[in-house]
């Protein structure tokens, strides 16, 4: 139990009706690290994100963001959390600037500060001149970059991204991955990045492998990956699990 953890998920289980979607999920994201939450579609990644983001509580277990318990101190825990959801969540009828100022207000940041910070963040994601454009004029990759800027507007120390590159072309995908890695490197941001794309994970990252609602491996990529690489290890892990279940 390290005091430096940006996120600790402890024994989280969840059911929708009688269907169990998460089972005793535990892992940690150390401060200033890029951790990939790796799992195939349907593994429970989005449900886990919803629980971490307090959209709903887990039936059992705990979530702590920088030692703040999400159920007991939700305000302080959420203030440290930036989230990019899998679904597009910008308001298409508003301008990019209006979307960012709205999000800043949801975190108690007044308009003047929000406008300043929006300009700086949009410059960072290469969209400095688009502040007054309607969201519906953006491409998929640009909208995603605005969502990342929005998630950073209240200066969170932990950023959650739920499959942020889904549906994007190769160039946009690699731009976004590079942007986030730069934030980790330059600003010490902690990141939990849900994905099912192995190419987005690097040897120095942490990885949590989620399969059918259970964590089947976690730790530094180097220790989880076999000699054949992370892809081989991932397929082996998920297949082993299937074989055990069918036995």
């Amino acid at each position: 139990m390290s005091a430096a953890d940006a996120l600790r998920v402890e024994n989280v289980s969840h059911w929708f009706g009688v269907r169990q979607v998460l089972s005793e999920v535990s892992f940690r994201v150390p401060q200033g690290q890029f951790v990939a939450l790796l799992g195939p579609n349907g593994a429970g990644k989005t449900t886990l994100f919803a629980i971490i983001a307090r959209l709903y509580h887990s039936r059992t277990g705990a979530v702590r963001v920088f030692e703040r318990d999400m159920q007991r101190e939700p305000s302080r825990a959420l203030a440290d959390l930036g989230i990019v959801f899998q679904a597009r969540t910008l308001d298409p009828d508003l301008t990019i600037g209006q979307n960012l100022v709205y999000h800043a207000a949801l975190h108690g940041i007044v308009k003047r500060h929000a406008v300043e910070r929006s300009a700086a963040l949009l410059a960072r994601v290469g969209l400095a001149d688009r502040m007054d454009d309607k969201v519906r004029t953006l491409s998929g990759g640009q909208a995603r970059r605005v969502e990342i800027a929005r998630a950073l507007i209240h200066q969170p120390r932990l950023l959650l991204l739920d499959e942020p590159t889904v549906g994007l072309d190769m160039a946009s995908r690699s731009d976004i991955v590079a942007d986030i890695r730069a934030l980790v490197r330059e600003e010490g941001l902690s990141v939990l990045w849900a994905t099912h794309i192995l190419d987005e994970i690097e040897p120095d990252d942490g990885v949590v492998v989620l399969h059918e609602g259970q964590v089947i491996a976690s730790g530094p990529v180097r220790s989880v990956a076999s000699e054949g690489g992370l892809a081989t290890a991932f397929h082996q892990l998920t297949n082993d699990r299937r074989v055990k279940e069918n036995a």
């Binding site: 959209l55 709903y56 509580h57 939700p74 989230i83 679904a87 597009r88 969540t89 009828d93 949801l106």
Partner: protein, 282 residues
Amino acid sequence: MSSTVTVEGRLGFAGYATCFSGIVRREFLRFVNQRERFLSALVRPLVWLFIFAAGFRSVLGVSIIPPYETYVLYEVYVVPGLAVMIQLFNGMQSSLSMVYDREVGSMRVLLTSPFPRWSILLAKLAAGVLVSLLQVYVFLAIAHVWEVDIPPLGYLAALPALVLSGLMLGSIGLFLSSLVRQLENFASVMNFVIFPMFFASSALYPLWRIRESSEALYMICLANPFTHAVELVRHALYGSFDPTALSVVTLVTLVFFVLAVLAYDPARGIMIRRGGPAGETT
């Protein structure tokens, strides 16, 4: 790029106020961007006033009943009901936008604000009421041109009544938004909520007339909170006060707001049962 305000500072009272005004501003911007919504919100009561009321003027005589001190024309009688009808539609429109927000995912952004859920929902509610007030006063101005005379002070006295009736109808809408599973199901809200509430009330005809034709319908109208919202506004417009209406409207507002807060509570609300927006993997 650094802000001088600390996290603790942002989460204080000033932060609440910023969050509140941010939500209200966003709803207002959405409203301004949807001019056809404003237009249709106005056209609906104006059709009732210009066509229905004119047609029924000779058929439906209205006797002297409080708060009126003299015989009034039917279009005079019907104006308060139509004003609250605007709020009824507006409340349901807000509810519709909550369901839409949930489907497209922007609800998630709202619900991950560090401020308590009740304060977020209250801000949504307040925003809806503000928008409805704007619509109602434009309607009242047009009605004035149509020679529906209301005492000048009545416009001012009606403001708190309209705020309260707007809060009540908004709370009902907010609660309904937690029950409606999908956007497509919203038509049933029209059938089962808006029309019965509007027609089984004192909006279009005085309750004594309803009682003459059916005692059961009269009792239904009396139990309908929309009746009390209409009467509260009707009395306020003519400088009188209806304590029963005020009590009913206040109580119904509180009950439905608490129900809405419970429905959006992370431990027991709709998100825990329904999960995320359509199209996301689990």
